[in-house]
Symmetry: D2
Subunit: 286 residues, 4 copies
């Protein structure tokens, strides 16, 4: 099996790298704070000295860091991935970054002769540990084929979506649907309760039919309990809805429902709920 | 176990009455076209001569007919339910009727001394046969308690929702959510495909996450196949959305997402898709 | 010149009847509280004893009362217009009534052999005094032709709009446009001021261009002064927008902008501004 | 009176410069194609050799060119305005440019020691000739004061709006209102005609009341005649509405009516009407 590198051992990265080691991959890890490498080394991983070193010594290198700046920093400079990757090796950035960053990294890697794949994931700590992430891969197709066995260890699905940028587009489409669903769900819950129906019963009846979905169950309980502990910050959802509507603008696709749901999330930000969970949109609707 | 009557042996009623017979209830059936009674009699049911006769001879009488006019006709006149029901007996109308009809029937029955429950169902032939309908019961609570064992034979859930009218309100709330979901889903499917994503992959990714629901699976396949064979006629959905928005108007509940989704369904009716399935709203969005 | 009757001498009716007298019409007046007749009699009008009496003695009788109930009461009963009108005489109801009331009155008059015109007006005290009302006439066209000279005394325009009901429809169309204009105007004023622009300058610039209109001038000053003294109650505007959207529903005409503006007015009612001026919609937008 | 330069003698610039000459200003003109200078020279203007030369020799230099690229090109390079302007002199760009271009030009001029004003205009050929433009000025306030006499020659109003960028913001606010008005107007015209009302009568009645405005008159005639000859291209309106909604996003100002009107214009672009007049939005609404 191919030798793989793994850069970034935060909550997500540590769990993902551990799954690769356990599955028998020859894994070399690196983390900005090198102490975090010990746990992986104990499982059987090697430790690399720099991103450049890891990229130079492994067939394929994965990265999982927390933001676009960190993702870009990994690739640039004398110790960066681009300095080490060389012809034909692969780099798979699984961090969630914006479109521009993804294209900048793609450019750096391909100028250095490497192959690149963006592969943001959907799912948090538990799916990372269980190997049940949803991996949205886009970019070099030959690299996708080579890396598929590793994706199958880390995720429950990892479709190939096309050119660099399509991973981000898929995420916008999915989150736009989510925002719209949450908006109509909140309106329904409000209307029903104003009509004298019991909120719990509405949830049960919806859950018994064709609309039954985990999100309504989870968010429904949150809004009945008036508990908006942040799982997905509302301001991020609004940003994604704004970007989705802008994408529609660019592609000449009218999106009236999404545009109006976006306004509801804007109303929630105006009301001071930007940092609360997306379910807090209910507070400006009810 | 109590003696029960069953009026109306169409596709739904026949299956529901048969389940009651099989569960050991003492069932008396009646149908406008009396030939349809034979099958039930063969299973062990008695045959009544008129709605009045059935209502007079049974503790509780159910009705399941196809429209508000038929539901009203069952109760009125010298052979109607109201003429036979007498003090303390119960009448449960499981037909889907409008608010006015339901209240008229409730008035007729209570003036005759009877107890009344509206109990429209969600679900079609298969759930009726399998006893897995969703029964939305509202009206006389003592009757609800008495009739609960029969509901448990016919449905998988049968919550008590409050006064007469709340069954209809619950249906509007649920269908409004459904219409909104379908509208944002159609927008997402259109946007994604215009951005070059594969429709099948969008469905798979949505299905792997927190939004996963049977409706998106079913309708998603329909719109990818451009097959809008009617399961739920679009014009009925638009009518329910209109009524839901009107209910919001009355209750001072703003419903912007629902109002805009309603406009999409109106657009679809204007485009000639009134009789097609609700999924045909996609054709005016894409 | 024909003899005309005038029923209802409130603020509007008194001014309108006075203009008819001054223009040389032979006017017979009646008012529920007969003291109000004195002023008109002093100008040269006769005084009638009952609506029946007026309708029986004049070629054409006008009515201008404050609500649908009063309008209906004028026509019914032994002393009502219908009892007196007889074949060929005309009745012109200039009160603002709903569609149902207008059709009921039309029926009463035509059953009695009379001709009927609904003619609600746009404009308040000052235009009534100045004879510059906008009269929206619909119903019997021969009566319209006969009554035109009187309309020209009372109003600056009085188009014939078609069958009974078209006067009300025209009013809905016009008010729907007004509600939508007010909603986008409020959004623009809010956006501009949040961007640091001066509200007064926005008004001046709009007023200098193709959008210049009296309403923006009047309402613009109100919202800059945070003065929402009622000229047109917000709840009436919302009712008209609701009816306009319902008319669109019936005619298969999608109206997304109106539907969303309607939600803004609903939001304002929910916030407690039902009795304030329509300009108060700004308070829930800003 | 101060010496002024004028760069760009297209349809607009020629008329504006001519008005300055006629008003007695000492004007030096320049145009990329120098032949166009002859007419102004005949009126009494001097001719400059380069933008640098004009900026260096005049107290204040105006520019009026057709797009952002041309506006930027005027300022840059060895012959550009920035190379000549020097300390204390003024530059007033009256072209319609985007926000970024305006700020770039502002930066170039202030680095060169000059004072800068953005002053996009509202109005076309006729108002330019008549000196009745609406001038939206923003930037250096001392320069605004110095240039005010010239603005009064060219325009009927020229308010000072604040820092560079506020001219553009004002234009977005005004155009957003225009787009929203056109959308609700189109819906009203469609609804009325579907209800059997006469389109001409709707226009007349609206024109007789508080909503009366030149735009409804002009566009109303266009849509009744189904004549969409371009005066303001629909795609530009949609771009402005998109930018206005984006500005609302940035300022946490919900704009539901504008967002939905924007979707109507997007629908019109999708239907192929991008190059037609803004009135063509009616074609996708009716």
């Amino acid at each position: 099996m191919a030798s793989v590198g793994f850069l970034g051992l935060g909550i997500m990265g540590k769990a993902m790298a551990a799954n690769l080691v356990k599955a028998g991959f020859d894994v070399t890890v690196w983390n900005r704070n090198s102490e975090k490498c010990a746990e992986l080394v104990a499982l059987g991983a090697r430790q690399g000295s720099t991103p450049k070193d890891v990229a130079a010594s492994c067939d394929i290198t994965f990265a999982m860091v927390s933001d676009p700046e960190a993702a870009l920093a990994l690739c640039q400079g004398p110790d960066g991935v681009a300095a080490g990757i060389g012809a034909g090796r692969g780099y798979v950035d699984m961090s969630t970054v914006n479109d521009t960053t993804s294209k900048t990294i793609a450019g750096l890697i391909s100028q250095a002769g490497g192959r690149f794949l963006e592969a943001p994931v959907s799912g948090t700590k538990k799916p990372a540990e269980d190997g049940t992430l949803i991996i949205l891969a886009a970019g070099d197709q030959s690299l996708y084929n080579d890396v598929k066995p590793a994706f199958e260890v880390m995720g429950k699905m990892s479709p190939y979506l096309g050119d660099v940028g399509q991973g981000a587009n898929m995420k916008l489409v999915v989150n736009m649907m989510m925002g719209g669903m949450l908006s109509i769900f909140s309106e329904g819950m409000s209307l029903g309760q104003k009509a004298g129906l019991d909120g719990r019963q509405i949830l049960d009846i919806v859950d018994a039919g064709a609309m039954s979905n985990p999100m309504f169950k989870g968010k429904g309980a949150m809004l009945l309990n008036e508990n908006y502990t942040t799982s997905f910050p509302l301001k991020h959802m609004q940003k994604d809805m704004r970007l989705a509507v802008a994408l529609g603008d660019q592609l000449e696709q009218p999106l009236p429902t999404a545009a109006i749901a976006n306004e509801a999330f804007k109303q929630a930000i105006k009301a001071g709920f930007a940092e609360e969970d997306i379910a807090a949109v209910y507070k400006v609707i009810k």
